[in-house]
Symmetry: C2
Subunit: 245 residues, 2 copies
DNA sequence: AATTGATCAGTTGTCCTACAACCTGAGGCT
DNA sequence: AGCCTCAGGTTGTAGGACAACTGATCAATT
């Protein structure tokens, strides 16, 4: 069971600093390959202890953004390209598109409350046979070109009917957030599929190849809060993963 | 430029403990959803300071393996399934297959030294026009079924001819390691392709759909050390990514 | 009886100081 | 040139302390 508390959710200092450092890095304040200020200096910049700075640094390191070298410093990882945001980080697709410098739009195709199918019941861990979901069918556009179509299913019991309206328009994340169910983890499967085999595609991708991102989102307490199938048109979206050791 | 030192590469304590904890978790010593020993207890188990334990814990957290909750403890993340190893972690394919409980084999199809094509020159950051690569073409089998075919290209200047023999047989990683060029990061693109369009497939995947993992591996100093294209047959390999915030 | 509120022990978050291990560059030496 | 030593800066680890948070217990109130 999940507590639907508003989760005062104070953000730990370490995470806050990590996010700020990340922002500064992607903003270009530190060039790729260059050295960041030493831990001691960051301490005085942020007025926190070294422990906290190190917490943030470690987080950035495991995101693959920086490289920490014993005895010499912390360096911004330098890839030829300037890709900073990979699939391993959980963020909305529109967010990712925007960060690539494109204009992201979302068009709601349909929104229904209906009985969950077997797949949805399994993925969302719904026990009762007549459990319902709110299903949102959308198209995602980058610079006015359709790059993906998606179906997001959320257990109906989690969504007050008053929120239905908001679901199609903005980001699903925003609505979940408002309800107090922020997804913090997602387990995604990747598949290759033919356009013809996609039931929700409206003709315009019939002969295309698609990449299917089949994922379940979980909140902090480990409960599944959303199940999405997102079909990306091959070639129109850069699908990048940063793999680290 | 990279120093090709043998990289004494002492493993930091924190990482060592993180790896051991990971091993214990996947081995089932701690059930999904259950609480791990407190930091204090882990300190005495491993005879290290709390700083080190926390370093390890944070690493596991950002790998998505555990969830650390302020005031209450560290918990093994509980997914319905028992998937523990996602694509976001850099490990060899054979390793991943083995961890799934399958029998992994590799069959070398060809190994050549040849001039790098333009794509390889770009990805591997080779400046001279007549730069050479060692190209290894292999098939990866899980339980005696072909799940992927791959081409790995390594700048010829990095590989002494004496190592060529080892390249096809075992893991490419092992050979790179021996040369002193351990990949610690990889930037991977994902594409969907048709079997017919894969030049190296030998007929047996003509009508299949494939997932192409197109990736460059980098060593610790940021130099590219290998470029691989791996074609996974759709449906025969579980392609999972754990996305975290 | 049920709810509320205070208290307490246990756990993670942050701070401080100190030292070990490591890397880099400067300078002196051959 | 190359090699060595050394000093200074940087990250890794240690130990102790307190703050902030969680979950449970239990008394007080309704």
């Amino acid at each position: 069971m999940s507590s639907s508390r508003s989760t005062g959710a104070r953000v730990p200092l370490g995470r806050e600093i990590a996010e700020d450092l990340r922002r500064r890095i992607v903003a270009g304040e530190f060039a790729p390959g260059s050295r960041l200020p030493s831990e001691a200096e960051l301490c005085s910049q942020y007025r926190v202890s070294r422990v906290t700075v190190r917490t943030a640094a470690k987080a950035l390191e495991s995101q693959g953004l920086v490289d920490i070298r014993h005895g010499s410093g912390m360096f911004v990882v330098d890839f030829g390209g300037q890709i900073r945001s990979g699939l391993q980080e959980l963020r909305s697709i529109t967010e990712t598109i925007e960060e690539l410098g494109l204009n992201a739009k979302v068009r709601r195709v349909a929104l229904t409350r209906r009985q969950a199918d077997e797949n949805e019941r399994t993925r969302l861990d719904l026990t009762s046979d007549d459990a319902e979901v709110v299903a949102v069918h959308r198209e995602i556009l980058a610079d006015d070109q359709v790059v993906a179509v998606s179906i997001d299913s959320i257990p109906a019991s989690l969504v007050p009917a008053s929120e239905d309206a908001g679901l199609g328009n903005g980001s699903v994340f925003a609505v979940l957030d408002r309800i107090g169910l922020t997804p913090v983890r997602a387990l995604a499967e990747i598949h290759a599929v033919r356009g013809n085999d996609v039931p929700i595609a409206e003709g315009h991708v019939a002969d295309e190849l698609l990449i299917l991102l089949d994922q379940v989102h979980y909140d902090r307490s480990g409960d599944p809060v959303a199940y999405s199938k997102t079909y990306f048109v091959e070639g129109r979206f850069q699908f990048v993963i940063l793999r680290t050791r």
